[in-house]
């Protein structure tokens, strides 16, 4: 699914997301979004409007960055949004990419964010490898 660095990078990103979901059972879905708002990888199968998903996650990232600027901060490194039906979690990656996840309403959000932060290094490594290729 990833377009950065070809098929190898895609498979590696999919593997990292699958590992993250296996580790954190509360995650309903997760994805990696590029700085430009492109969906690089997603735990979703076919049939999901990838452009719509990417646009909505990018909108949340942009809102968080706006709040950061308004508060004289460089970046928002982590975002947690509680919505009707569940949570949306974002973790900022190097170079402005983002790791996103959704959970149910009763998820242990702190634990999920901990697992996402731990997976960040692995995702960054794959993305970096893809950019160098």
């Amino acid at each position: 699914m990833a377009e950065t660095g070809g098929a190898g990078s895609t498979e590696n990103l999919d593997r990292v997301l699958a590992d993250l979901r296996a580790l954190s059972g509360d995650i309903a879905s997760c994805s990696v979004l590029s700085k430009d708002g492109e969906l690089l990888a997603s735990s979703h199968g076919e049939g999901v409007d990838r452009e719509r998903v990417a646009a909505m996650v990018a909108a949340l990232v942009n809102l968080a960055e706006r709040v950061a600027r308004e508060n004289d901060k460089e970046h928002a490194s982590q975002v947690r949004v509680k919505a009707e039906g569940g949570h949306v979690l974002l973790v900022r990656l190097d170079a402005g990419d983002a790791l996103a996840a959704t959970t149910g309403p009763d998820a242990r959000v702190g634990l999920v964010l901990y697992d996402m932060r731990n997976a960040r290094g692995e995702v960054e490594k794959v993305l970096e490898g893809g950019r160098e290729a």
Partner: protein
């Protein structure tokens, strides 16, 4: 008949007063914390459900939760 009408009027006024008081008290209460942002320096920023910015986040997040990412 006049007596009944008077009682109904009084009941209506009481009910209206209760609704108005509830609305006034609710307005002064802080909203639920719905957004938590951690910045790169480790500081945290929280947005409440009754803030415009908080609602912007939750409106989008609700749709994202519905369809997944």
């Amino acid at each position: 008949m006049r007596k009944l009408f008077g009682r109904l009027l009084l009941l209506g006024a009481l009910a209206g007063g209760v609704v108005a008081a509830r609305g006034y008290l609710k307005r002064g209460m802080p909203g639920e914390e719905v957004v938590q942002i951690v910045f790169d320096d480790g500081s945290t920023y929280v947005l409440a459900s009754n803030s415009v910015e908080g609602q912007e986040f939750t409106d989008i997040a609700r749709k994202v939760v519905e369809i997944g990412v």
